[in-house]
């Protein structure tokens, strides 16, 4: 009875300190809520753009032209007009997607890349390593279709495509939604794409090196108002993370630091540093915003309905029989 009363009291107090409060009921800075890092800005800066910051005018034009292009890519067709065979029809029209409508904007400045260092906004790739690992990995994960467990992690419904679950947590083409829940000693980040939960132990210790979970092993601590998260022991199969907006390698020995600072009621500034000597000549840094969203996180129960895997394997067998 006493236990029940105590539990009820804790929940009551917890409700008083909802996601709108600056601190949680146990006194930590409050990051709780549902957030999105949706943005037209990609990880790396386009070659011809100089500088991290672009003008409001250029950013507005970019967003406008982007929308125009989406509409053009969808194509106009008359009622009854039949679709034709094509070399690459592009899969789906853009109404299936949700990439965002504007560029990343931090402190009133539009950004041309998520990467802030190196200053050219590019990954400091160790090119010879990428040249060896890249083609082989792509062949094994995206071309060969002999066994379901050889295909990419996204297709297998293990983790989201790209680095949506992170670390670092990067924007992809849709479902860029995250829910943060805090309890004494833990921060949990539920990643909608796809169904992963990062469990960050506050003031905890890393697990033994032999344990390499999906999304790595994360511990954290508070530095003033900022949550600092350090992650290591990445899962070796999560080494290549390919999405539309980015393709990165993160080795199992990488060390990643993330910093979450709630800069306003509606925003969390997300900063990260990736140290991975295997694939990069230098550490690289990035910044994004997580903006509060009114929407809900939806379940992404992927395995049960993953007809795609069956179709991929059946398609490969059909090609072999031709």
């Amino acid at each position: 009875m006493k236990k029940s009363l105590l539990t009820a009291f804790i929940f009551f107090i917890g409700a008083l300190f909802s996601s709108e409060s600056k601190t949680t009921w146990f006194g930590d800075p409050n990051l709780q809520g549902t957030w999105s890092n949706q943005s037209l800005t990609s990880l790396e800066r386009p070659d011809e753009i100089e500088g991290l910051i672009i003008s409001d005018q250029d950013a507005a034009r970019y967003a406008y032209y982007y929308q125009q292009f989406l509409e053009a890519a969808d194509g106009e067709f008359e009622v009854g007009e039949e679709i034709q065979a094509a070399d690459d029809p592009g899969g789906y029209n853009t109404e299936w997607m949700d990439p965002g409508t504007q560029l990343l904007k931090i402190e009133n400045n539009y950004r041309s890349s998520v990467i802030t260092y190196p200053e050219d906004g590019k990954l400091p790739r160790k090119l010879w390593r990428w040249a060896i690992n890249g083609p082989l990995t792509i062949y094994k994960m995206f071309v060969r279709a002999d066994h379901p467990e050889e295909r990419s992690l996204g297709e297998r419904c293990i983790v989201g495509f790209g680095s949506s679950g992170g670390p670092p947590m990067l924007n992809v083409l849709y479902n860029n939604n995250y829910q943060i829940v805090q309890s004494p000693g833990y921060v949990v980040i539920l990643v909608e794409m796809n169904h992963d939960a990062r469990i960050i132990k506050i003031n905890g210790k890393h697990n033994p090196e032999s344990m390499k979970p999906w999304l790595g092993d994360s511990i954290g601590y508070w530095e003033g108002e900022t949550l600092v998260v350090k992650t290591k022991n990445m899962h070796p199969q999560q080494q290549f993370r390919a999405g539309i907006r980015h393709q990165i390698f993160i080795s199992e020995n990488a060390l990643i630091e993330e910093r979450f600072t709630r800069t306003s009621q509606d925003e969390i500034l997300y900063q990260f540093i990736v140290n991975d000597e295997k694939f990069y000549n230098d550490a690289w840094k990035g910044e994004m915003l997580f903006r509060k969203t009114d929407g809900k996180i939806y379940e992404y129960a992927c395995h049960e309905g993953n007809y795609a895997m069956e179709n991929i394997l059946a398609g490969a067998r059909a090609l072999e029989n031709q």
């Binding site: 753009i49 008359e78 065979a85 853009t94 849709y174 796809n194 992927c302 895997m309 398609g315």
Partner: protein, 146 residues
């Protein structure tokens, strides 16, 4: 202005890539771009499942009835875009333009992707991406006011 042109070009390249591998799998791994399908029929079932929703359409051709399973987007995005079970009710007639799966055994059912899905009068079944509930900063004049 040069910057904008370049950005546009890069966007195009990026998007072309994205359209090919837009979903959790690569289009070309699963579907046959040389096998276009143009289907008109009534919805018999909608599977609101991840990673893709599947719309089952009954197509009657020369008195032969075939059920096609049509792959759509992730339900999470569709719901945010305003699509509900009320939008795609069984019995509703739709027009699907897409491509058949590479495996063509049609066992247990024929499968295709739905590149675009419209009602018979040409109006779109799916709404655009505005108003998804995603965060916005007010810079886009087309945004709905919150």
């Amino acid at each position: 202005m040069k910057k904008i042109r370049i950005l546009m070009l890069l966007t195009v390249i990026s998007l072309l890539t994205s359209l090919s591998i837009s979903s959790h799998h690569a289009f070309t791994a699963e579907f046959d771009a040389k096998a276009p399908v143009n289907l008109t029929g009534k919805i018999v079932k909608v599977e609101w499942i991840n990673p893709h929703a599947w719309v089952h359409v009954e197509v009657i051709d020369k008195n032969k009835k075939t059920i096609w399973m049509v792959e759509g987007g992730t339900p999470n995005t569709l719901i945010r875009n305003g699509l509900t079970k009320q939008t795609l009710k069984p019995g509703t007639v739709i027009v699907v333009r897409g491509y058949q799966s590479k495996g063509k055994l049609c066992t247990p059912r024929c499968r295709a992707n739905g590149r675009d899905v419209t009602f018979p009068d040409g109006s779109k079944v799916f709404m655009g991406s505005s108003g998804t509930g995603a965060p916005r900063d007010g810079a886009d004049p087309r945004e709905p006011k919150r």
